[in-house]
Amino acid sequence: MKIDLRSILVLAVIGACFIVLPLAIDLGSSTMNILILLFVYIILSQSWNLLGGFTGQINLGFAAFFGCGVLLTHLLWKSGVPIYLAIAVGGLSAALLAGVIGLPTLHLRGAYFAIGTIALAEALRILVGNVFPSSLSLPGTYASNFNVFPRYYLGFGIAVLTMISVYLLVKSKFGLAMVCVRDDEEASQVTGINTFKTKFIALLVSAFLAGLAGGVYSFNRFYFHHISAVFEPIWTFEPLMAVVIGGSGTLIGPVMGSIFLVVLSEIFAEILGEAHLIIFGVLLIPVVLYSPSGLVGWIDWLKKVIGGVGKPLVSEER
């Protein structure tokens, strides 16, 4: 593993900015909330990418894991469990749920996993809607000593931890197995990779991280009009969208996709309301069809074009 000093320096500077900036300047609560939402999206898209981008298993019921984290964190926190413990339990329960659907479906090749996850999310949405028909809220004492900073730093911390763990996982031998399974399942089985175990572990890690994202989201909200809304497919669509637009199977892609998505939805949601999802859908289709490497691919292309200026037209690159 080659460690590039310059890129580490750049990352450290960016990280320091995120840590120092809210302390130095008063950003206002709406900006802080957008940043927290951005962290939630980064965690979600990184964990979707771990399974969808690196392991090649399309999860269309991602909202189930996120919603499970939100719901459990909320309920545990309300019953007096410390918030950090509640978030961890939310993540673990999401992983447990993933095990239930992963065990029967990941043995099979083809669309079974996608179908199973979408069925799980939909069934959970209806079940939760039936069990909690009215709104859920925390008692007023929780709101009176509200402070945005712990939420911000928790979101930032978990986002950074997610990125580091995805990085380490992908760079490890296990990550190599994941990419192998994605590229050719039969061939990787022949070379001695336990494909089911690889897919299953990737699913568990991905679901655990999604549950943590749910915890961060839940920490920042005191009131849910309909708790079943967190199980809605929009919570699958947006992380998936962020990964595909940013560039699936890369580390930086989901981050760029999340920033792109959050910024765009802030702009469009004000002008167009719900209809901004049409634009996202229309954007997604050509990216999947014609530019599967997403924003990362475009940046590489730009680098090549800019780097190529002033060089002879016929390069000796081979």
């Binding site: 239930v100 979408i118 209809a275 859908g281």
Partner: protein, 296 residues
């Protein structure tokens, strides 16, 4: 005793409709290996067209089926041409399947929100003079809309069976399903076969939408509910086993009616999910097939 025969009658009527819902999805999956996640959304779109014709011109929903078929067929052609045909260039079936899921997942959001703009997010249903009536046969009640849905499902399934089994086009479809490359070497225009099959698949979704809007109700984002049903039926029938879809739908309808009798109507989807997981564990190749799937 009455409640049992009534449950069975209900299960059969609903089950035939479940079969009808799945036909389009099964055709697209079986022939082209495209998993159309937007299938439920196209069902709802077909329902809206029928609803619109009914409220505008008072046309009986069952008479609007030909119109819905034509409109949805054209939509199917456009969807195939614009979004799905580029996927055929992808190197492997797995890639094609994954990309088709992502693309149709995007289509859901486009069509859902367009429908919300066009028809408002309210829940709609067609209330014709015969809605809510029921006929009593052998001491059990059959709702008129349910019987009509049953009839349409059987007619459509038989028609599809004849098209696929007895016509030249059907022969082309079967050849392209078995081996697209060999079929095109034999002089079959595989792209045209795929194009028309996609049109038929989306048109079938539209017909299912007409049945749903006249006996249930639709709203712009209710597509996923029907998609889930279609998935479970497709797994029961076995992937790509188009002729087993209506029997599988009947089985799901009966199982679900029995399950709802025990746990209550709000948990209908949960019953379907449990059936789905049990089937995947014990008979992943579907109920009607002897061959075992290759495990991966």
């Amino acid at each position: 005793m009455g409640i049992f025969t009534q449950t069975i009658a209900y299960g059969i009527l609903v089950g035939a409709m479940y079969g009808l819902i799945t036909l389009g999805l099964g055709l697209l999956m079986g022939v082209m290996k495209f998993l159309n996640v937007a299938h439920g959304t196209f069902i709802v779109l077909g329902g809206y067209i029928s609803y619109w014709v009914f409220t505008r011109y008072g046309v009986n929903p069952y008479l609007s089926i030909p119109l819905v078929i034509v409109v949805m067929f054209i939509i199917g052609l456009v969807v195939y041409k614009v979004t799905l045909s580029p996927l055929l260039k992808l190197p492997s079936i797995g890639n094609r399947l994954n990309s088709s899921m992502l693309i149709t997942f995007g289509i859901i959001y486009v069509v859902d929100n367009l429908m919300t703009i066009l028809w408002k997010p309210d829940v709609r249903s067609i209330v014709a003079p015969f809605t809510g009536r029921s006929i009593e046969l052998f001491g059990t009640k059959f709702s008129v809309t349910g019987l009509c849905g049953f009839g349409v499902a059987i007619v459509v399934a038989v028609a599809l069976y004849f098209v696929l089994g007895r016509t030249q086009f059907g022969k082309h479809v079967r050849a392209a399903t078995q081996d697209a490359e060999a079929a095109s070497l034999c002089g079959i225009n595989v792209h045209r076969t795929y194009l028309i099959s996609s049109g038929i698949a989306i048109a079938l979704a539209g017909v299912a939408g007409v049945i749903i809007v006249s006996s249930y109700s639709i709203s712009p984002n209710s597509g996923l509910r029907w998609l889930l049903v279609a998935f479970v039926v497709m797994i029961l029938a076995g992937e790509g086993n188009i002729h087993a879809i209506v029997p599988a739908g009947l089985i799901l309808g009966l199982l679900e009616a029995g399950g709802v009798l025990i746990v209550g109507a709000p948990y209908r989807q949960v019953v379907a999910l449990v059936i789905f997981i049990v089937i995947l564990i014990f008979r992943p190749q579907g109920l009607f097939r002897k061959r075992r799937l290759t495990y991966g």
